[in-house]
């Protein structure tokens, strides 16, 4: 290859007490889709932040087409030709698409002119988007398009994408990949960060693997298997969740015509949801975020009350029961939002263990808390689920997302639930931790519990679930056995019309 577009040489970034990047060296060629692989905390984010000018490295140099490149601010990076699509969107829901795009630009043109250019670019790249629509009304996939088009308008040479497919339906992923391939054919380079190895294998021609801040491998993903990539990333032989399909037992959770309003103004009401989960069964519920997942979890956990008969736990109507009473019966939940919902950010892990474990783990006698017992319980969760933390006294917010997720899921599993409902159990969790969480869910079902896995990660659902149902606009499809289900069928169940129509438009 001739001169690379961006050459990173010996880049090191230290934070107090931790080296986030250590002597990282790699090149991104012109017109290359380069994958950056690594577990959570491997240093991927730090690295791209350095490229995008959000942080400055302590050592090392970067060369842009052979010239020194050291951006002091994102504006400087953008001026050079670097654009970035973040994992979490920074959009204002109450403004329309064109206004949102203008807000992210350094020198926005008049809004009418901008709208015309948005339409032009969106058509050119097969990303249909109406500049006059309110962002609040857009799906996650469409919101991502706003971010991508915002970047494309600046005509970048290097596009950085951080976990772009985590919120997309299969159809939306197809559209995105078509766009990315088109960009590559135009000679633009893409730095693609993902933990979805199949995607990387189908899209990228080069991969740099990071582990604990260091480059531990380079590969051509097309020549590797997903498994060999994952093992490179984790640095050990990957344990793939396994299960024996046991016989299903009696019905443990039955939801019958459950309709509840959402407590939040931007939420989705549940409309006549029916579902049945047997002992030993895992029901996977797919769907793009914001289609009623949070509300379904709240209605099952007891945070949202429903008519008594709408939720039955092992035959007993519990719709009117609160979280404490449901927990006492063995119906446990782990919500999606770790900080602030599943756990209190400023409280220690001991206190967070008490948060849901108080009654089932008998941490409380006659109203008085035994913090010694709570610490024991927290330490058992930490040990059993390999939570990386200096100890149970550490505040929940000091843990990385993946580690806190292991703690939150582990906390519920160790309480021996008879029904467990989890929302996004492995969101933002690295491959090996995700595998161990999924294995724990499988083991739990094996032992006779009924498990509901709400997830946007279809691979995850297909890996663990016996039956699959899709949540769309607060309605749940009829569950179907996972075996024999094709991706196309799943896409249609998810309300695939959205992706299909857009592709044709």
């Amino acid at each position: 290859m001739s001169q690379p577009l961006l050459s990173i040489q010996g880049l090191t970034k230290r934070y107090p007490g931790v080296v986030a990047n250590s002597d990282v060296t790699f090149d991104i060629g012109e017109g290359e889709v380069h994958a950056l692989l690594g577990e959570n905390g491997a240093g991927k984010s730090t690295l791209v932040k350095a490229i995008y000018g959000l942080i400055r490295p302590n050592e090392g140099t970067m060369l842009w087409r052979g010239k020194p490149y050291a951006p002091h601010a994102p504006a400087e990076a953008r001026a050079t030709g670097v654009a970035m699509v973040f994992q979490h969107f920074s959009l204002f829901e109450a403004m329309d698409v064109a206004e949102n795009v203008a807000l992210g630009m350094d020198n926005p043109p008049p809004i009418r002119e901008l709208a015309a250019r948005i339409t032009e670019v969106s058509n050119a790249y097969g990303l249909p988007l109406d500049p006059a629509r309110m962002v609040g009304d857009l799906s996650a996939g469409e919101r991502q398009r706003v971010e991508i088009i915002r970047c494309l308008l600046q005509n970048p040479q290097l596009l950085i994408m951080d976990e772009p497919t985590s919120v997309l339906t299969p159809q939306e992923v197809d559209i995105l990949f078509r766009t990315l391939r088109q960009l590559r054919s135009e000679g633009k380079s893409i730095l693609y960060i993902s933990h979805k190895l199949e995607e990387i294998r189908s899209l990228c021609e080069n991969a740099t693997v990071l582990r604990l801040g260091k480059v531990v491998g380079r590969a051509d993903p097309r020549q590797e298997s997903a498994r060999s990539l994952a093992e490179m990333m984790v640095g050990q032989t990957l344990h793939v969740p396994s299960r024996q399909r046991g016989a299903m037992g009696r019905v443990l959770l039955k939801v019958d015509k459950l309709s509840v309003a959402s407590p939040s103004a931007f939420g989705t009401a549940l409309k006549g949801v029916n579902l049945t989960v047997h002992a030993g069964e895992i029901l996977g519920i797919g769907g793009v975020a914001g289609n009623g997942q949070d509300e379904l979890l709240a209605a099952l956990s007891g945070e949202l009350r429903a008519p008594a008969e709408a939720v039955r736990m092992d035959g007993t109507p519990v719709g009117q029961y609160g979280p404490t009473a449901r927990r006492a019966m063995g119906l446990l939940c782990a919500p999606e939002e770790r900080l602030g919902h599943a756990a209190a950010p400023d409280m220690s892990l001991t206190e967070n263990a008490l948060l849901t474990g108080a009654w089932r783990e008998k941490l409380v006698t006659r109203g008085f808390v035994s913090y010694a017992k709570a610490r024991d319980f927290a330490e058992r969760v930490i040990l059993r689920f390999d939570v990386r933390t200096p100890g149970a006294h550490v505040a929940a917010r000091a843990l990385s997302g993946g580690n806190l997720q292991k703690f939150v899921i582990g906390r519920e599993i160790l309480q021996r639930p008879s029904v467990l409902v989890v929302n996004q159990p492995t969101w933002g969790v690295d491959a090996s931790a995700a595998a161990s969480i999924r294995q724990a869910l499988l083991d739990l079902a094996q032992a006779g519990a009924a498990v509901v896995v709400i997830s946007q990660d279809l691979d995850e659902i297909l890996e663990v679930a016996d039956n699959f149902a899709a949540l769309n606009g607060g309605r749940l499809s009829v569950p179907r056995p996972v075996q024999g289900l094709t991706m196309d069928q799943i896409g249609l169940m998810l309300g695939g019309a959205e992706g299909g129509n857009d592709a044709a438009a």
Binding site: P345, D346, L354
Partner: protein, 365 residues
């Protein structure tokens, strides 16, 4: 350039250091204020913080005053702190204090002049119930109609003051008082009086009640599941609902409890140091207790220390008024500055200040 950087975990050292630093900064800023008023700042600060305790001239009078003033401050602040921990902002303790005092006085005046051991306990119950009931008004309005408890509780203070004025000049007025406003002297009615327990110390039943309240709050917050739920609701309301905390019950409990504690403080005051129901019976304890609660880090032990400190500014403030002619409002400004500096400095527990010199970091690279 200074930058704020969020700490991974809240700093314990700063948590303890900020109240001390806030007091120091208040002394500096207060000194400047007194200087601007044309007074000697060093003398004023000495009069406020030193002389009430150690001066030979004033000490004998001032030292007992310390317990008399700190008692109600601590009692009210402990009640408030439990609500504040849960994110329930009762700003109307002053009103609950007045109503508690009026209810207790009503019991005393009803029994007057009968001698009975039952009168004093009944007054305690009436005081607590009165404060509780006044606190339940914002609580019920909040849980039923989602009104803001800060506004409702604060505005109810002024309603309580009107009722107090009506009582002092009307239905509770001393029939033998020659038409002057004010009730009978409850402190001189043996069955109802809240006597000094140990002569010369200023300790009366209110101080005992404050001590019990401190222990109660400590056990509740540190050992009891209810205290855990209070802290949880304050820090992460959504996690609290997930844990099974009913927000409605928590609002009723916190506003009821802080109201009852404020009412008790009013009861001990009217039967003790204040002696009677008068138009100007309330002297701002309910508001100052808010400062006490925050200065004490919403922690029972901290509140005890803060209670004594604010009691000192009350006494020393009076002394400074008397000796230097500093206006009374300047003392209130002084107390307010304390809260201001404390809240401003609190950011340091969760953030650290970084000196970011562009030139330096370029070199480091």
């Amino acid at each position: 350039m200074l930058r704020l950087e969020k700490r991974p975990s809240p700093s314990h050292a700063w948590n303890y250091a900020t109240p001390v630093l806030a007091v120091a900064l208040t002394m500096v800023a207060g000194g400047l204020l007194f200087l601007a008023l044309g007074k000697n700042p060093f003398e004023a600060i000495r009069l406020i913080f030193w002389d009430p305790l150690f001066s030979e001239t004033f000490g004998a009078y001032s030292r007992p005053q310390l317990l008399i003033k700190a008692g109600p401050l601590i009692l009210i602040a402990v009640g408030l702190s439990i609500g504040f921990r849960a994110g329930i902002w009762n700003i109307g303790a002053e009103g609950q204090y007045i109503i508690g005092a009026m209810c207790a006085a009503a019991v005393a005046l009803w029994f007057f002049p009968a001698q009975s051991l039952l009168v004093f306990p009944l007054m305690i119950v009436a005081g607590a119930l009165g404060g509780w009931a006044w606190g339940m008004i914002p609580a019920i309005l909040k849980t039923r109609f989602n009104t803001n408890e800060i506004l409702v509780s604060l505005l109810l203070v002024y309603v309580a003051e009107k009722l107090l004025a009506a009582a002092a000049t009307g239905f509770m007025r001393n029939p033998q008082g020659a038409g002057f406003p004010g009730s009978r002297n409850i402190n001189q009615y043996a069955s109802a009086a809240n006597h000094e327990l140990i002569a010369g110390t200023g300790l009366h039943w209110g101080g005992v009640a404050a001590l019990i309240a401190v222990i109660f709050a400590y056990v509740l917050l540190q050992r009891h599941i209810l205290g855990f739920h209070v802290r949880l609701a304050g820090q992460a309301p959504r996690a609290a609902r997930f844990a099974g905390v009913a927000p409605t019950r928590l609002v009723l409990m916190c506003l009821g409890l802080s109201g009852a504690f404020a009412g008790l403080a009013g009861m001990f005051e009217v039967a003790g140091p204040a002696r009677l129901i008068s138009i100007d019976f309330n002297s701002g304890y309910g508001f100052t207790a808010i400062i006490v609660a925050f200065l004490g880090r919403l922690h029972p032990v901290g509140i005890v220390l803060a209670g004594f400190l604010l009691a000192l500014t009350y006494i020393g403030g009076e002394l400074a008024q008397f000796m230097l002619g500093i206006p009374g409002a300047a003392i209130q400004v002084f107390q307010g500055m304390l809260l201001f500096f404390l809240l401003a400095l609190d950011i340091l527990s969760n953030y650290r200040i970084r000196l970011a010199l562009p030139a330096l970091s370029r070199e480091a690279r």
